[in-house]
């Protein structure tokens, strides 16, 4: 058997997006040794793609804003299934985290007074998103990266964690392989922080990269941690739909924040036709008011294009189903029209939305300053994830923490745009702080060679199966495509019991197939082998999302069921949890939502 490297850390962070980097920086500030493992090169994680901005109630543009309004907006957006403690901490701490980024070199767009400029976004009552044009995520990850490399953190790039290692009920390390050579490594740690992002790759149309295969969700689940809210998957209303090869690539909500409007094939702004009851008071009832809102008129209410993502996505689907879609199966998103109001609109659009301009120009041959874009929903974000304590971010397994998209609680049934970037900063930092604290109170353990040998054997199995019988090869890509196809069709934006049951059957069949999946080639930078190993993760999160979706017999937030199209009182009071039973089966159960304090209830009522 081949050798493997051993590393020892107080705190091990898995993932190098915004959450992982924040966690590693905060942990290293507490005088503990920190290792960070990332699946890609540093600075390439999914945070880099975030466009619109980071939500923080700094009140730089509108002094009426404050943490209480942000808290109430987040709870309303999440349809009150959020962990209220997390929503409160997030709203209170986000401004400090944004200012911290500035101290580390981030350069946000400015107000005339030289403060950080904030923009409007869906579901946020006041202009709240600090931003850098439409490349806020790049600014954030680069700032964290450039600061983080000077903090004594040990980075392991292009390394994938295969399994967490436990002793008793504690997580004590991780077993991993590197992409370059397929070398194995053991990372012993007193505390492990999951910051691995989501699992959009379980679906066919997604804005997510290859990395997003639910690794952290599954590693934690296999280690005994609970997952919560897995039925809630955000389909972003505006992804590119044409040409086919770019289908799913994100079109920032910032386009609508800057005045972009959605139209059907009749040229009608259909969003005015369907405004949910709990947003009627906050939504413009005519086009002029909506326009004035996007231009900073404080007395105007938001246009319906800036309603929450779950709702906008469903309205778009309804237009397409009614035959009023665009030629390639989307609807029209028009920002060019603002030339009716703004002189020099073309330059203005290029300044405010440079990467959207570039993206459509390069990939679709469309000039968004002159013609409308075609857009449709794309799988974007997992609200559900590892069940964590709101203050410390520790999971239900001692020593295992989680932050960012792979953790759950802040967003409830639907995430507001901009709240993910602030989530990364606030809870990444908290996870780092509390994991370091936890590490100081426990000892490093010895991990037996038998455990390692077993894991090596398991990881190498797909390559060995191919060598033994290349003729029976069950290719990894075909299984992945099959899963993506039926998850998109059966557990997508509009769901129904029979279809989800059908998906469950298909997932079960693929889980059997995966036992014989094989990969050709050797261990060196072999994407086929890596895909084969990721399949277990994808299937686990797909199963969890489907099972939780079946149990929630109502429509709420991102979870829309055709057979139960309304909200139910019964399900308004519960979160759904999945965990792995001793026999390996997936257990699903309902738990009461976390109670709100009297103060929180009062804040929600004041800001209705």
């Amino acid at each position: 058997m081949s050798e493997f490297q051993i590393h020892e850390y107080d705190v091990l962070v898995i993932g190098a997006g915004g959450a992982g980097l924040s966690a590693a920086i905060k942990a290293s500030a507490s005088d503990v040794s920190v290792g960070l493992i990332c699946k890609s090169l540093l600075g390439k994680a999914h945070t880099v793609m975030a466009e619109g901005g980071v939500a923080a109630a700094m009140a730089n543009v509108d002094e009426r804003d404050g943490w209480k309004v942000h808290f109430a907006d987040t709870m309303r957006g999440g349809q009150y299934l959020n962990n209220p403690r997390m929503a409160e901490l997030h709203a209170k701490e986000a401004p400090d985290r944004v200012r911290e980024l500035e101290a580390w070199g981030a350069l946000f767009d400015r107000t005339k007074e030289g403060k950080i400029l904030q923009r409007n976004f869906g579901g946020h009552r006041y202009p709240r998103l600090a931003h850098v044009g439409d490349r806020t995520g790049l600014e954030m990850i680069r700032t964290l990266q450039d600061h983080g490399i000077h903090q004594g953190i040990k980075f392991h790039m292009e390394v994938t964690v295969f399994r967490l290692i436990k002793e008793g009920d504690r997580v004590v390390g991780a077993f991993a392989y590197d992409r370059e050579k397929g070398r194995f490594s053991l990372h012993k740690a007193k505390a492990v922080i999951m910051a691995t992002g989501g699992y959009g790759r379980a679906f066919k149309v997604t804005s997510n990269s290859w990395e997003y295969t639910g690794d952290g969700h599954t590693l934690a689940y296999d280690a005994g941690a609970e997952l919560i809210d897995m039925e809630f998957i955000q389909f972003h209303p505006t992804g590119m739909v044409w040409p086919p090869s770019v289908r799913g690539i994100l079109v920032t909500e910032g386009v609508r924040g800057e005045g972009g409007v959605l139209k059907n094939s009749d040229g009608k702004r259909f969003m005015f036709d369907d405004i949910p009851d709990n947003y009627v008071n906050q939504t413009a009832d005519n086009e002029d008011e909506g326009w004035r809102y996007t231009q900073g008129d404080r007395d105007a209410r938001r246009p319906p294009e800036l309603l929450t993502r779950d709702h906008v996505a469903r309205c778009i689907v309804n237009q397409i189903k009614a035959g009023k879609g665009s030629p390639h199966g989307g609807v029209f998103l028009d920002i060019a029209w603002i030339k009716e109001h703004i002189p020099g609109a073309e330059a203005h659009i290029q300044k405010k939305l440079p990467s959207m301009y570039h993206q459509f120009k390069e990939l679709a041959g469309i000039d968004i300053t002159k013609e409308p874009m075609e857009v449709g929903p794309t799988t974007h974000y997992a609200m559900g994830g590892i069940h964590v304590d709101g203050d410390t971010q520790m999971s239900t397994v001692p020593g295992l923490f989680a932050a960012g998209e792979c953790a759950a609680g802040l967003h409830g049934a639907n995430r507001l745009g901009g709240n993910s970037l602030s989530d990364l900063l606030v809870f990444g930092s908290r996870a780092g702080e509390y994991a370091a604290q936890h590490a100081k109170g426990v000892d490093q353990v010895t991990i037996s060679d038998d455990v390692i040998e077993g894991l090596k054997k398991e990881a190498l199995a797909p390559l060995e199966r191919f060598d033994e019988s290349p003729g029976d090869a069950q290719g990894p890509y075909q299984i992945q495509y099959e899963l993506q196809d039926f998850m998109q069709a059966l557990v997508g934006i509009v769901r129904v019991e029979d279809e989800m049951q059908e998906a469950l059957g298909k997932i079960g069949a693929l889980q059997e197939k995966v036992k014989s999946v094989s990969a050709c080639g050797n261990r060196e930078y072999n994407p086929g082998w890596h895909t084969a190993l990721d399949l277990h993760n994808l299937l686990t999160v797909a199963e969890a999302a489907t099972r939780a979706g079946i149990v929630r017999k109502e429509s709420r937030g991102a979870h829309f069921r055709e057979d139960f199209p309304d909200k139910s009182e019964e399900f308004s009071k519960v979160n759904i949890i999945v965990n792995k039973e001793a026999d390996g089966s997936m257990n699903v159960r309902q738990v009461p939502t976390k109670p709100k304090t009297d103060e929180q209830i009062a804040i929600i009522e004041e800001n209705a």
Binding site: S40, L41, K44, A45, H46, V48, M49, P95, R99, E100, E102, A103, W104, G105, L107, F108, D109, R110, E113, G114, I116, V132, G133, R135, G137, L138, E139, R142, D146, H147, I149, H150, M157, E180, S209, W210, E211, P243, P244, S245, V246, I249, H358, Q359, E362, L363, A364, G475, Y477, Y481, A519, C520, G521, N522, E524, Y525, N526, P527, G528, W529
Partner: protein, 246 residues
């Protein structure tokens, strides 16, 4: 469009060869799509580095028909129709496998550049007053997605292999971003002159040409840095003052 021939370099640091593949190219496809299709159909173990597929992460750099490009932003329809497409790894960095190169040198270079040293905050909440005119100039440099295509094309690195003496256009842009950062008070001109090898750049602007973010690397980053170095070290008055200080 239809069947297209591809010639892709396969191998590792010990050597390799071009292999021929054929795949169907459909409307709107980019080079990275074709590579993925080949990978799924006939070369499961073909190594290619990529992430966002939207020109935002800078992972899929390679040389397409001899030109350094992001594979995800190179549309097949922009290449000569009916002709074979050649794809090779970046030449300036050691090959790991197939189209994947070892770019770790870049990460080591960045670590040695002194990080931002902010002046004390202007406001009680720890924030600064910064005007848009001051952010605009630096924001151009901060658009960099670290694809390293500029490093790949730079002859100082590519032909002369001066990796130990020259940090390359990417890190001159990075240094310019720090030097012109409105709240930074550190000076890095000494390093630019003595360690980073800014004098090696003879302004051929190849880096600017290949930048997928259209950063005017030479005009807006490198030349102003050269001027700062000249000001600090070759200005006769300042030189005199340095002598007196000694």
């Amino acid at each position: 469009m239809a069947e297209t021939q591809f010639k892709i370099w396969r191998g590792d640091k010990d050597g390799g060869e071009y292999k021929n593949y054929t795949t169907d190219v459909t409307e709107g496809m980019v080079v990275l799509d074709a590579v993925h299709q080949i990978q799924a159909e006939s070369a499961n173990d073909l190594a290619v580095r990529w992430n966002c597929k939207a020109g935002k992460c800078g992972s899929c750099s390679a040389e397409v028909n001899g030109r350094p490009r992001l594979m995800c932003m190179t549309r097949m329809s922009d290449l000569p129709p009916g002709e074979e497409v050649t794809i090779e790894p970046m030449q300036t960095f050691p090959v790991e496998k197939d189209l994947v190169t070892d770019v770790s040198w870049n990460y080591r270079v960045k670590e040695k550049i002194p990080k931002l040293a902010p002046r004390p905050a202007d406001n009680e909440d720890g924030s600064w007053k910064i005007d848009t005119v001051d952010t605009d100039r630096v924001q151009e440099f901060r658009k960099c997605i670290e694809c390293y295509l500029c490093q790949d094309v730079c002859h100082v690195l590519r032909e002369h292999d001066l990796h130990d003496e020259f940090i390359g256009p990417r890190f001159l842009v990075y240094t310019a971003g720090l030097e012109m950062q409105p709240i930074d008070i550190e000076t890095r001109t000494k390093q630019l002159k003595e360690e980073y090898g800014i004098g090696y750049c003879n302004i051929t602007k190849c880096c600017t040409t290949v930048c997928p973010e259209s950063i005017k690397i030479t005009d807006n980053a490198i030349i102003p840095l050269k001027e700062r170095v000249a000001d600090d070290f070759y200005d006769p008055l300042k030189k005199l003052m340095r002598i007196f200080k000694k």
